[in-house]
Each structure stands twice: as C-alpha cells, then as structure tokens.
Subunit: 464 residues, 2 copies
C-alpha cells in the first residue's frame, strides 16, 4: 500500500497535461490512434498538489483589468443584446416571428441541454448518429463554443465544484459564475478533465471543424431565412429569432452555473453549492434540479418526479420512444433515496438537538418508597411508571382537572395514568417525563418495560 | 404499591357515577355547596371495567330502528334544512340579507368554537363575565344543546377518543360521527367526564335555565328581526339568516367530529383518528387542526402557524387585546415540537427500512493483501478505505471514466477516491459501500476513522 502514502507526484510536469501530441487528422472517417485520457497519469494527490503549486494569474484590479478581459466573449455578450434592443425598437414583432423565436429558442436550447450537456459532457445516454448531428447543429445555434470546449469546462466544473479548479466556481459570486468567468481571463486553468472520448467522436469532430460556419448559419442565417422566406419578415427574423433569441438562450444556459448554484434547497446533499429550484428549471429548459444533478450527473434526468419541469428529460425519453436514443442511464433508486434520507435526518437531528428531553434513569437519585412518602407530604410528588414526578407546577394546568392529580399525591398513579382512568396521549407522556425528579427504589420492575421511555425518546436520530 | 395491582374496582356501583345528590338551587347568585367531581371516586381500572361490564343496548336493526331514533334531534336536523330549501325557493336573496347571514353564521359559530368548545369544554383561557354572557348567548343561536350538555359529551369524546365510551366514536364511520350519534339513541352512555366546574359557573347555569328562550330568540327571532327592521326583509331574515344559516352552523360543527377525524395528516400523533386539514379548518371556523387539538386540547390555538386558518384563535387573541380574556393557555413549544419530531422520525424510519444498506465490517470476510492481489487478477477488485470492492459491474458506469478505475484494480485507491484525484460525492461513497466484498487485513488502520462508514449510515433513525 505504499502508493497511498506518497506525498509528492511522481513527475509534477505530468500534473499539467499537455494537449494531445498527434494533431487531429483531416479525414474524420479514418480510425485514429487511441488517444490517452488526459487524466490517466496524474498522481494520487493531484488536486492538493495543483492548488498548492500551480501559479495563478494576479488578481484583477483597477490597474490591469483592461488587459485581463476576454474581448471576444465580451463582444459576443454585449453586441448580441445591443442588436436585439436597437432592432426591436425599429422592428415590429409579428406573431409568426414570435412563435418561431420561441420555438427556435427551444431547438437551440435543447441542443445545449440534451446534446452538449446530458449527452456529451455526461454520457447519460446513447444517441444515434442522426440525432447526434441534429443536436450538434442545433447546439451550435446557441453560440456557446464547440461541444469539446464546452464539455471540457463542464467536466472540470463537476469534478472540482466550488474550488479554484472549477472554471465557474460559484464561491466567486453570482455574477462571476454567470458571465464573469467568460469576460475576464481565468486566473487559473480549469483542473484536468478527460475528454478523449469526445476527441474520438465523429460528430464532435465534425462540429469542431465546421464550427464557424455552423454558428453563422444556425445562429443567424436559419432564423432569418425561415422568417424571411416563410412570411416575409426578414428583419424580424434577424432581430427576434436571431439576436433576441440568442440572448435568451445564452442567459438561460448561464443560469445553470449561477442561479442553480444559488437559489433553492439541497435535498440530496449540501456539501456543495448546487441547489434545486423550480424557477431555475423554468428558465433553463429543465436543468433546475441541480442539486440532484451534481450528485447523480450521469442520470439522464434532472427532475425525478413526473410533475417537475424537465423538458430536456421528456425530449430524451421521446427520442428513445422513436428509436433515436438508447441506454438512458438512471442512478439506482436505492442510492437516490439514501441521499434524501440523510439530508432529512440531518434536519431532524438539528431539531432534536434544540429540544430538551427528560432526564435518564441514571441521572436521577434512587429514592425509597418511605422517603417518597415523607417528601410527598411537603411537595406534590406522584409515582408513575417507576419514576417520581414533581407535579406542583402542573396540577392547575391539568386538562383532566386538579382533583385527579391531587388525589394521587404520595401514591402510585401508574395504572390510572396508563389508561385505567385515561389513556394519556404521547404528548402527555412526554410532558410527564419532564417532571421526573427521582427513580423509585425497585420501581422499574413494573413490567411496563419500554413504557418507561417517553414516546418522544423511543425513536432518535443517532450518529452511527 | 398494592393499589396498582388491584383487578376489580372497590365498589363497581361507583363506576357509573350517579347525578349530583343536591338538586341545583334556583337562585344562581347564592354560593353553592362544592359539588364533587363526577370522576373523583372512579377506580383505577375504570375504562376496562366499564367496557367489559356495562351493558350496551342491542344493535340497531331493521326490526327496531323506529324505536331507537331520537325524534327531537331528527326533527331539528330535518325540519331546519326543509324550511331553508322551501323558503329559498319562494324568497329572493337580497344582498343585505346575504351579508347578514354570513356574519351571523360567524357570530353563532364562534359562540360554539370560542365559547362552548375552547372556553368551557377545554378551559383553554379565562373569559370575563361580559364575554361569557355574549358567548353563551351567541352559542345558543347555534341550537346544539346547552353548554353543560355539550361539554360533557365533548369531554367524554376527548377522554375516550375512538372507543365505545366516546359519544361520537369515529371508528363507527363518517356518518355516525357526523349526525348518526344524535339521530340514533346511543348504544352506551358516554364514559364518565367531570363537568362540576361548569355546574358551578354562573353563566353556564344561566344559559341552562333560559335555554329554550335563548334558542328561539337567537336561533330565529334575532336573525329575522334584524333583517326585518333593518331593511324590511322579514322573510329573507327568517329563511336565510335563520334556517339556512343554522343548517350551515350545524354541519360546520358536526364536521369537527366527522371530517376532522377522517381527512388529512397526523403530524403530531397517529395513535388516534384526529387529523389536520386546511379544508376542515375552512368549514369549521378554524377547528381543522384537530390532530394538534387532540394532543394539546387545553391549548387555546388549533393552528399553530400564523398563516393557517384559525379565526377562533384570532378572535380569542383579540378578546385578550381588548381586555375581555386572559390566561390564554399554550402547550410548551418544546413538547409540541417533540410530537412532530417523533412523527417525522417514524416516517423516515419506514423509508430507512425500505432501503438496502452496505454490509458491516463484521459481516465481511477478512482478506490478506496477498490474497486480494491474487483474486484481483481474476475479477475487478479495488481497495478503498480498508474495504475490498468488486467493481466489475460498475467500471463501465463510472462517470469519471473506465480508465480511472481499471488502472486501480488490485491497488489501493483510497487517496485518489477520497479527494486526491476526485472528491467523490456522498452518493458515490454510498454506492461504493454497496460493492464491498471483504475487509483488508489490517486495512482499517488507515487513520480515516469514520470515513469507513458510508455517509448514508452516519445518521440513522434508531430505536432507543
Ligand atoms: C402528573 C401527571 C399527569 C400529566 C402530565 C397529565 C397530563 C395530561 C394531559 C397533557 C392531558 C390532555 C390530554 C392528552 O394530551 O392526553 C390529560 C388529560 C387527562 N388526564 Fe392527565 N395527566 C397526569 C396525571 C393524571 C392522572 C393521575 C389521572 C387520573 C387519575 C389523569 C387523568 C386525566 C384525564 C381523565 C384526562 C382527560 C381530560 C379530557 O380530555 O377532558 N391524569 N392529562
Ligand atoms: C470503484 C469505486 C468508485 C466509485 C463507486 C465511483 C463513483 C463515482 C461517481 C458516482 C461519480 C459521479 C460524481 C459523483 O457522484 O461524485 C464519480 C465521478 C468521478 N470519479 Fe469515481 N468512483 C470510483 C472510483 C474512482 C477512482 C478510483 C477514481 C480516480 C482514480 C475516480 C475518479 C472520478 C472522477 C475524476 C470523477 C469525476 C467525473 C466528472 O464529474 O466528470 N473514481 N465517481
Ligand atoms: Fe453546476
Ligand atoms: Fe452537468
Ligand atoms: Fe375530536
Ligand atoms: Fe375539543
């Protein structure tokens, strides 16, 4: 087991994997030399080592910010909304164009969610070639980079969530994870993540190769031409189905990195920032159950309940129905439930710790029957279930009336209390136990067994 | 402690308390001889003894039913809706009368809920004389019997809930608990319940004495005269604010015995039938949180959250604000929370029992490093955290890729798995634990301590 105790990587140079040595061939069809996964030879302490030894760029400041911007991303993210706004001012929105824009928003959005994200970044199902080409083409219309670039970043995001090796580290704030990470040059390279499976994929390579043509065609020409040739609305097609729709798709996707790491509950695990929320789902075509997704990333679903909004899941299921997709991966139900159970127990444990429970047998003095009688002459003591209770403060509060308690002072009221006179509720038993002041000598041999444990203490959240 | 083991009541005759020996005096103002509580001298096994030895009337059948009906109740409960229906057919509903009817519904309804129920039956707060007279008068307008009769039955209902000594035993079915118990003569006397506190109460006695006058006046004359003198709608006042309103108040109250023991959840205790539901609350002026109410009957609230519908509680709080009520009783928050916690734990325990968890150290064979190496040549075995795992079925499912697991077959991947390469989620740890097939000899001295316990097993619902 010596490999486990090693403290330095064998060869630190390998910790920063170099790009594949063989340049990608031109003919996609020819079988390639198997590319080695980028993380094949990283050492066992890769994460700690990298964070400690890899130099990060200096922080962005008032002096250097203009040098640290990524002007390409910045242009795309500012010019598109500018075109949309100015264009909308001069162009009347026709209903055909409105319908077409919304439809095209879903087409290109699903290219990202069902294609880029769930198919390629997470391999959560298998897609036939035609579906893959369709998704790669539709996804290009969202203008968010090629499948390979996108998936590489996204895999690093999952692998190093909330750390400095996560390209959209949510700990750096909402706006950083939304757009900041694209506009400012990253301070660190994202941690290593293997995408050799994508390098081998014909469709991914095809998209990478024709990427510029695809974004121009799918991002602007198709939306414009459909509206222009269809109902003569060339300008509207460009402004609404082109620029405005693109803006919406952009920020819709970005919300998965920002909103989904910020808004909502963590029903499966709260170790990291991802959260579940229906609002996020609505704005991201179903990617809003992000707490689930980070726990079970290779599950083709994000929402597990039928009534939750996850059109991406519905689309994938439909593709399976029509024979274009297969091997939809689902995390074992048993394990999903375990995560939920643990989170619920965690919450109940907090509740439990904020409550006061009755003293235990061992914390109380043992008192003889004679001594109990003596003391009962001075204060209101009643024996119930082998315990001696001081009921002074309670007699006047008793819903059954003062008299039923006072007549039992200095006596054993076990039978009466346990149903002989009144079958007290669990709440009454719990409250009673809070009045314990002693244990009657020999009093626990009542044959009442676990009735001595107040109902609220029979089930407990325990740490192993 | 010999009193506890007694098996027969000392004097069985006392088990059926006889009515007070001294006839009530005529002048309510004179101080009375203290009446002994009806349940003062019952034996400690009263409930069991009574159920066993007290004779019940024969069951109602096709032969005897006409002899077993309570014709007075039956008349009131059939003639009132008949008047309302026929009257409504011939009488146009004016909006003033509609508003007045709804208002009067709340007035007489609150007479029952805030007066009969929470004040007198449960003593959940103290009311000043003027408020008591107002409530006794308003409550009479609901025509449901005198305070004393009503409270005696209601106290028995709480004391013997769901048993044959409960006058509206919900186990006898929805319709029995709704109206059946009034229409058919009861098979058994309700169990003993003390109302000596009410016998001593000036207002209760005043109401008892003038009861017939009060129901005629409040049930019909007042609603009719207000509408008649107010806006000339004598007929409408009689039909809508009188008969129809009375019908609604009746069935509204009856719902507390039927619907509230049938519909909804049991967040505080599920030992008996009472349930919490917002629909019940809406139709009963706030008496719908009945599971809470049966656990904490002397709490002046039924709904404990501010956003839940409990106008009766709001009314009582308002009366306190204006100085007409005091000593509003509230069950200790700590005890209320305990009940909720127990019910939630009960539910989670069921969930826990339906899940499969990883085998424990003691259930697994201890295997030497050499033997592990040998066997790893034949099947895919990986050591992580001192346990040997068979990952054969999992390698192709691994979201981090096949290669990261296969390169660790026959090795110790603890460091890599625990964050060196990837800081696996709790879900991954849980799933991993399901693949355990052995314990490595000496392998648990990893200094990883409780990391050996899968996250899903660190918190458990335990029975004491
Ligand atoms: C000192 C210990 C006692 C405590 C803490 C206690 C507590 C309670 C509580 C909380 C209730 C409300 C109903 C419920 O939650 O079940 C209740 C009702 C009642 N208790 Fe006790 N009780 C005590 C002793 C007794 C004894 C010794 C007797 C009989 C001899 C008795 C007879 C009753 C009866 C008859 C009721 C029913 C009241 C009604 O629903 O109208 N209690 N008690
Ligand atoms: C046989 C035991 C293993 C199991 C059951 C397992 C399970 C998982 C699971 C469920 C995930 C999904 C993300 C998550 O839930 O955290 C995952 C991801 C990952 N695993 Fe493992 N793993 C195992 C062994 C390993 C080993 C030995 C390594 C490294 C040498 C490794 C490296 C990774 C990496 C890098 C990811 C990140 C994938 C991504 O998010 O893109 N795993 N593993
Ligand atoms: Fe994320
Ligand atoms: Fe993802
Ligand atoms: Fe009830
Ligand atoms: Fe009640």
């Amino acid at each position: 087991m010596s490999s486990v105790v090693q403290t330095r990587p064998v060869s630190p140079s390998k910790a920063h994997p170099t790009p594949p040595q063989t340049p990608p061939r031109k003919q996609a069809k020819l079988p390639e030399k198997e590319e080695e996964p980028a993380d094949m030879n990283i050492p066992d302490n890769y994460v700690a080592w990298t964070l400690k030894n890899q130099k990060a760029l200096p922080p962005v400041s008032w002096d250097n910010w203009w040098r640290e911007l990524n002007y390409l991303s910045l242009s795309i993210l500012t010019i598109t909304p500018a075109i949309a706004l100015v264009g909308a001012y001069y162009t009347r929105l026709r209903w055909e164009t409105a319908v077409w824009s919304v439809f095209y928003y879903f087409v290109t959005g699903l290219g990202i969610t069902a294609g880029y994200h769930r198919l390629w970044a997470h391999r959560s199902y298998n897609a036939s070639k035609p579906l893959q080409y369709a998704l790669a083409t539709a996804g290009a219309g969202a203008v968010e980079g090629s499948i390979k670039w996108w998936s590489r970043g996204h895999r690093a995001h999952h692998r190093y969530t909330d750390t400095d090796l996560d390209p959209y580290n949510a700990h750096k704030g909402f706006w950083y994870s939304h757009v900041g990470w694209m506009i400012v040059k990253p301070r660190r390279k994202p941690g290593v993540a293997d995408v050799s499976d994508l390098s081998r994929n014909e469709v991914v390579r095809w998209q990478h190769r024709w990427y510029l043509q695809l974004i121009i065609g799918m991002g602007f020409l198709v939306p414009t031409f459909v509206a222009g040739l269809g109902w003569g609305d060339w300008a509207g097609g460009f402004v609404y189905a082109g620029a405005a729709r693109l803006c919406f798709v952009h920020h819709s996707t970005f919300c998965v990195n920002s909103l989904a790491h910020w808004l909502g509950e963590a029903p499966f695990d709260d170790k990291h920032t991802p959260r579940d929320h229906v609002i996020t789902a609505l704005v991201t075509i179903g990617e809003g159950y992000h707490n689930f997704h980070h726990q079970f990333p290779m599950d083709y679903r994000n929402a597990i309940k039928w009534y939750q909004y996850d059109p991406t899941k519905w689309f994938i299921a439909l593709m399976q129905k029509v024979g274009l997709a297969s091997h939809l991966k689902v995390f074992p139900e048993n394990e999903v439930r375990k995560g939920q159970l643990t989170m619920q127990l965690k919450r109940l444990r907090e509740a439990q710790e904020n409550l006061t429970f009755a003293p235990d047998v061992n914390e109380l003095p043992v008192i003889s029957w004679e001594s109990f009688q003596e003391q009962a002459a001075k204060r209101s003591l009643v024996v119930i279930g082998g315990f001696i209770h001081d009921v002074s403060a309670f007699v006047d509060e008793h819903p059954g009336g003062r008299h039923l308690i006072t007549k039992n002072i200095g006596k054993d009221a076990t039978t009466a209390f346990f149903g002989g006179v009144y079958d007290h509720s669990n709440a009454a038993h719990n409250w009673l136990s809070m009045m314990r002041v002693g244990v009657l000598h020999g009093g626990t041999q009542h044959g009442l067994d676990d009735k001595n444990i107040p109902p609220s203490q029979r089930l407990r959240v325990a740490r192993y």
